[in-house]
Amino acid sequence: MAKVKRFMQGNEACAEGALYAGCNFFAGYPITPSTEIAEILGYQLPKIGGKWIQMEDEIASIAATIGGSLGGCKALTATSGPGLSLKQEGLGYAAMAEIPCVIINVMRGGPSTGYPTGPSQSDMMTAKWGTHGDHPVIALTPSTVPEILTETVRAFNLAEKYRMPVFVFYDEIVGHMREPVEIPEPGDLEIVDRAKPTCKPEDYKPYDSNFEIAPLAAYGKDGYRFHVTGLNHGDDGFPTNDSKRIDQGCRSIMAKIENNLDDILKNETVDMDDAEIVLFAYGSTARSASFAQRKAREKGIKAGLFRPLTMWPFPEKAIREAAKKAKVFIVPEMNLGQMSLEVERCAPGIEVKGINRVDGEPINPAQILECIEKYK
């Protein structure tokens, strides 16, 4: 039987993906252009007995989200630029205390209040470095409405699997545009649930270093009692001043990522085999890049498209690989050059050309094509 196809908005697909993934907790605070996610879930979550709350601000929202997660729920919050800045301290807490949760950031013009209804991709570096201190980051960057659905599902899976906050970042264009989406049926997409402890309650250690990722119990649900803190802590979750354990703790939250790159990274590539001109693009900009890449190939130009769906961790190895054949990387972004810096770092000696727009307008295919032609 054909799948149900619905014509829906990016933000709607996000809510749909969250529900598919088993999300049963949402806490948020309205902000353009992400508000629809909260609105839809405010309608849908009660229907399935899930919990939904509008908090007094974004700080409270991320805090409640983390609390909901520790209460055993799959928890989500959604916001945009200014809200992302406010959530930073809480995000660091989730990373440090290793609490799964998913954060959607629909990007609008910044900095500050900026251009609330204009599209942008200028929060990409904030995703990685926003909160103080070294912390692990996973950030996914879908380009289409169906992809927002599937990447939101993947975000929940990664969050639950790696016990950490996982971001989905997309720009206002993808968030507000509409496309037909085939609604997956149960079983169509993989769903990862949080590993639960199986040991005796008295043996339970929420940060047991015998595990790569220790199972996380829920407060009051499984008979395990444990302590959680944002201070550096030992296996048992209690604060420690032992410099060895501090070091281990700081490194192990990063190692979760580094040791599982194959599982976490996801890229789409088009015509990369012989590509001399590599377009590195994400979000709605990747759609323009794709258009331009097609046209370029039609003109016989050896252009390829590298489209990261996992932006953080950065696809360093793949870029280093691509750099071996490429003579130029073109990085179109609706910002003043953010991911292009990472490309530059990982493609030493290769020219990296940014196409940057910060005027509230999308980067159109013609602009990219023109740039490609300069390098052909």
Binding site: F25, K47, A63, G67, A75, Y219, H227, T229
Partner: protein
């Protein structure tokens, strides 16, 4: 005679705190004479009187000396960010309404940086007990004035005497919508225990402001001779029980804070209401 043996003989025995304490965590980090330990003990006795099991309780705190409380008790415990305990607790409670949420927080944590979450939690009337360890100072960071530091006091950030008016924590809680509001002190220990018990038993948001002492920073800078001196002056002589208010002449009430349950009303609890929303949505 062990406590066990004493119990068998039906003699009065001291309270056995150990069933609620995590092994190996004592002595606690609080300074000599700090009131926070007195509050913790009263809380444990209150929990025992109610008969809650360790599994039924979730204790959440922010950051500060007071916020170190959860580390010592064998409940579901969470030490969060400065000022944000109530928002974390709200998430936990929503996810798991069966848990008894107890938030231990300081005057700085609850009323300075955490003020917004404090008033909104009270407004929602979500079922949790908020214990504000009110020592008129930021203890953890070395003694800066807080929103409850009495005017004129010396602190490390008010070398010329504190000039800011104070919050009345209880008035604020009440105006925000809390359905149970009380004040207690670490001096009046039996009353403290009773008040905490009543607060936990109340369904809805309960706030107990507990006046206690920071002899190290507030005490030293303001020439108190000892912890007992502070308890005597601030907690004993500085307060009056609501029960005595009517019996005392006005001059005896001047400048005194009231102790006891100051406000208690019924109000539908947040999670109960949300359960109705779920019913409605599923109709």
């Amino acid at each position: 005679m062990t406590a066990e043996a004493a119990k068998k003989q039906k003699l009065s025995v001291p309270f056995d705190y150990s069933k609620y304490l995590r092994g190996g965590k004592l002595p606690h980090i609080w300074c000599p004479g700090c009131g926070h330990g007195i509050i913790l003990k009263a809380l444990l006795r209150a929990i025992d009187k109610i008969g809650l099991t360790n599994d039924e309780i979730c204790m959440v705190s922010g950051i500060g000396c007071s916020s170190r409380t959860p580390g010592y008790v064998d409940f579901n415990t969470m030490h969060t960010l400065h000022g944000r305990a109530l928002s974390y607790a709200t998430g936990i409670k929503m996810a798991n309404p069966d848990l008894n949420l107890i938030v231990t927080t300081g005057d700085g944590d609850a009323l300075a940086i955490g003020g917004n979450h404090f008033i909104h939690t009270c407004r929602r009337n979500i079922d949790m007990t908020i214990l504000v360890y009110s020592n008129s100072i930021y203890g953890m960071t070395g003694g800066q004035f807080s929103p409850t530091t009495p005017e004129g006091s010396k602190t490390s950030t008010s070398p010329y005497g504190a000039m800011e008016p104070n919050f009345d924590c209880c008035e604020l809680a009440k105006a925000s919508g809390a359905t149970f509001v009380a004040r207690a002190t670490s001096y009046h220990v039996a009353e403290l225990e009773r008040t905490i018990k009543a607060a936990i038993e109340h369904k809805g948001t309960s706030v107990v402001e507990i006046l206690d002492q920071c002899p190290i920073y507030f005490g030293r800078q303001n020439k108190y001779k000892s912890a007992s001196h502070m308890m005597e002056m601030i907690e004993k002589d500085g307060t009056v029980s609501v029960k005595q208010v009517d019996k005392l002449p006005p001059e005896k009430l001047e400048g005194k804070l009231l102790r006891g349950i100051l406000h208690q009303v019924e109000g539908e609890e947040y999670c109960d209401k949300y359960a109705k929303i779920i019913e409605k949505a599923q109709d």
